[in-house]
């Protein structure tokens, strides 16, 4: 019995590891509900060269601190082929401020220029291996498919946008746009934990 438990645990752990994207791996497409009620999937974006997928939410002060910068990022890089796709991963039963209605309100209030999707089943979040909000994944369309080329932070200063000196996510996008490999594909940032469903 104990052996079985161990085997089961090992299986769980390996499943977990499988699901968490690393840079250089292929990303799977998803289909999630946007705040307008319509489903959005990455394959709809025929013209896009890639995507800036950001796990973010309403309530988290770190997400809020980056909100304006995410809008700017979308405006700048959508034109260059890399639109922002924001995903709220949180269970509203755990964090009521992150409910679908609150998402709609927030997007309207702050003028989101990008889709703001809800990951109701939390499968996409699990698949990507996002652990916090905000958590950035930059995907690039390549011959082999949609490749994960950057995972991590937006930049190096959450509180003061005017004191930013390292624009990690933008550097990665620039590398992709210039057709070179991404020099710094992994960075870390502080963020709010994903509010998983209570089983």
């Amino acid at each position: 019995m104990k052996m079985l438990t161990v085997a089961f645990l090992a299986l769980l752990v390996s499943f977990n590891a499988l699901g968490q994207y690393k840079t250089g791996e292929k990303a799977r497409d998803f289909k999630l509900k946007n705040i307008d009620g319509k489903k959005v999937s990455l394959s709809q974006y025929k013209e896009a060269k890639g995507f800036i997928v950001i796990f973010t939410c309403n309530h988290c002060p770190w997400s809020q601190a980056y909100e304006q910068r995410i809008i700017e990022l979308d405006k700048k890089y959508k034109a260059l082929g890399y639109p922002v796709i924001a995903i709220n991963p949180n269970d509203p039963l755990v964090q009521p401020e992150d409910s679908f209605d609150e998402m709609k309100k927030r997007a309207k209030k702050f003028g989101y220029t990008f889709p703001y999707l809800v990951d109701e089943g939390q499968d996409v979040t699990r698949d990507y291996g996002a652990t916090r909000t905000p958590h950035v994944y930059i995907l690039n369309k390549e011959e082999a498919g949609l490749m994960v080329r950057y995972i991590g932070a937006l930049d190096d200063n959450t509180e003061y946008p005017d004191r930013v000196s390292q624009r990690y996510a933008e550097d990665a996008l620039q590398d992709l746009i210039e057709g070179t490999y991404v020099r710094n594909g992994n960075t870390k940032a502080v963020g709010c934990t994903i509010k998983w469903k209570k089983s």
Binding site: A153, T158, E159, Q166, K188, A189, G191, C192
Partner: protein, 159 residues
């Protein structure tokens, strides 16, 4: 004279109000590198972080239960440094926290997170257990049982 005034001011504002130092990475690394007989439980949290606030009483209780024993709970707040007066101090006062509270002004997290703990993805709460050069790390909300389990584990773990 100025020191005396300060002292008077401190006395007037009440002794229970704990001072909350704002520390830089080098100071935090120095705390984490200590290798004496004290077991240190270093918890990274923030005032507005729900799961952090939920687990805080367990840390407080742990510290109270180890009064005069070589166990030190250090609560490292990752609130924005500008929130010291507005949020962190009032929070600590209201909750009457007795564990040591520090406010961390760390700069670029991409640099300091790995210095603190390479296994840490950056989400909070996160807790380090340090004892005689040994180290355990947990990312996520701790139950009281798990907190005590980790404390026991690091005490008994071979170096």
């Amino acid at each position: 004279m100025r020191a005396l005034l300060l002292l008077l001011l401190l006395l007037a504002t009440g002794l229970q109000a704990q001072n909350i130092p704002v520390i830089q990475p080098a100071e935090l690394y120095a705390v984490l590198a200590k290798q004496d007989d004290t077991l240190r439980v270093v918890n990274f949290w923030a005032t507005w972080c729900g799961p952090c606030v939920q687990e805080l009483p367990h840390f407080e209780k742990l510290q109270r239960n180890h009064h005069n024993k070589p166990l030190k709970v250090i609560l490292v707040s990752l609130d924005f440094p500008s929130q010291l007066e507005k949020r962190v101090k009032p929070f600590v006062q209201k909750r009457k926290l007795t564990s040591t509270v520090l406010l961390f002004d760390g700069g670029d997290p991409n640099i300091w997170i790995d210095q603190v703990e390479p296994r840490w993805s950056g989400s909070i709460p996160a807790t380090l257990f340090l004892y005689k050069g040994k180290r355990l790390f947990y990312e996520g909300q701790l139950s009281e049982t798990d907190l005590y389990k980790y404390v026991q584990q690091i005490k008994t773990q071979a170096p």
